[in-house]
Symmetry: none
């Protein structure tokens, strides 16, 4: 099948993304998308086979937009700061966030946790690399770079889920980030 109408697909994609960010994953139906995009039932199925298909497309783009700061863009401490600033932004983001939908999707059945797992693993790898580089430059001190990276990721995950459930204050995120950094900073 060729391209069909790219603009139409984009319209559907955008409407679906909006719906997922507003209602999460489980409460979005194909009918909702049809109504929201102002197209016909059959028309939607021309582009997507179902809400999961839609969601995976939406989340794929989302994941691609989450880039890690370039290791060469500054000192390890600077790179780490950029990374944590991005994390903070995501954690606090209110409208347009797919976090809730992503968690819901991951809980909607086995075999759907890949996205969360991938994000976590990539975060650990990235952080481990940054910490090791910082040790070389003397900016960071760590007896266990991998362990410290894991610890940071758990804290970030903890704040992330807290933000989605009971909410979190910006200052609290800042405070945690401070601690992370000061712990790594050489004495």
């Amino acid at each position: 099948m060729s391209e069909r109408s790219e603009s139409k697909k984009k319209l559907i994609f955008d409407c679906a993304r909006k719906l997922f960010s507003e209602r999460g994953y489980r409460d979005v139906t194909m009918s909702d998308v049809v109504e929201s995009a102002g197209i016909s039932r059959g028309g939607l199925y021309l582009y997507y086979t179902g809400t999961e298909d839609l969601f995976r497309d939406v989340i794929k783009e989302e994941m691609e937009s989450h880039v890690y700061p370039d290791a060469g863009s500054g000192s390890p401490a600077e790179v780490l700061a950029v990374f944590l600033r991005n994390c903070k932004k995501r954690i606090l983001k209110k409208s347009g966030s797919l976090e809730r939908a992503l968690y819901e999707y991951s809980f909607a059945g086995s075999g759907r946790e890949e996205y969360l797992k991938k994000e976590f693993d990539e975060g650990v790898s990235f952080l481990t690399g940054v910490i090791e580089m910082g040790m070389e430059t003397g900016e960071f001190t760590s007896s266990d770079p991998g362990g410290d990276a894991l610890n940071i990721m758990y804290i970030l995950e903890g704040m992330r889920i807290k933000a989605q459930t009971s909410g979190i204050r910006s200052a609290d995120v800042d405070s945690e980030i401070m601690h992370m950094i000061s712990r790594l900073a050489s004495s």
Copy 2:
């Protein structure tokens, strides 16, 4: 409600709890409960108005069963160790756990996060108290007991959600717990 009714309600409750722990919150229907409990559809509605009503009853009991170790049952370090051991158990618990259902419920719509929020807040309070007591006894050192309590809770939450999505190893939990304790321990 007569005694007879109470036992029936208990039967429904137990079956529902089992279903929620096996399938999470969203994938349990009233029909499932009816079938599992071997009662009539109408009978179920006599005790519960829907799956949400059922879940709130189940989770209420669950929350009550999560007791914090008695502050006077040992030294602050010992009390903390017991608390963290319990947390570890919950994080790693496979069968019978309501964690997934609880997260799903919290995501199922606004106004449903109270349980997770309550647990978190109580955890922070408890830990703050323990740390402060430990400072008095000289076992712990902390420049910000509330902040350290929060930090520990974020790590625990992070591991908890990770366990439910991509899984976590027992050793990883141990490692994090070690770090928490050593950080608090006076030098």
Copy 3:
């Protein structure tokens, strides 16, 4: 699941039978049955899982109503005559016949030919028995009872399908039956 309402099931059964006899198998939908029986969509699914389920129930009863004349109810020639008279009746039956639906069902996919096959095989067995008995009593002559039984069944099947497609005249059926009988009759 217990009996539910037997009368309701009977109502559905009767409506479905009528529909199948009027429209065949493929052109009957669950909606048709719902409308015809004057019940709700959900109500129908309480009794039958789909049109195939319905059809199998209808055809099962139909098959059970096709009894072979008792071998002891008369001389072999008389028994044969009764059998052929019944066949004729079915072949010529206009309203209420499930023949077309049965053929359609058999063509609707593999694994669905069992009913037609069963009928044919039973017919061959029955006829073989009758012919052999007739040979013992001296009423019939046959050098190959099984082969003659098969031949009769093919003729009956041929008339049956012809009746359903382009139609057949009563006199033509009589004529064929005459031939069958005279061929078997001892000279």
Copy 4:
């Protein structure tokens, strides 16, 4: 229609024939034809108004390909033998056969039985002629050529439908053909 168009129509025709022979009549959709022929949806409708239109075109050609042996090509007995050999071939033909589709089409609604009826009637006419010629040459004996022709056609139809539903063995067809011939052969 230009030459170019004719070839396209032929392409569609061939693909449709293949689909009908593989899946019967009811399970072939316009989408199937579009996909199989590798043409556009709109393009297909330029040549055919629907699956029925397609099928009628396919079956028309099929009917034309069923030629009766030339009465002058041999003795009546030889001509009959050729005819029956052809019938046997069709009855046993596995791949590429339109039999199932033809039956399905005939059952798909009234006014669609013409093809089966025409075939049957032509068969009777042909056989009657052959038998009468055989009587003139002294090869055949028959007190009712038309009746004997009808009888043969019913047997052939019976075997044909049996082959499509529960299957038939080559030897069984041979056996029936033997009987037909021996019955006609003068003593």
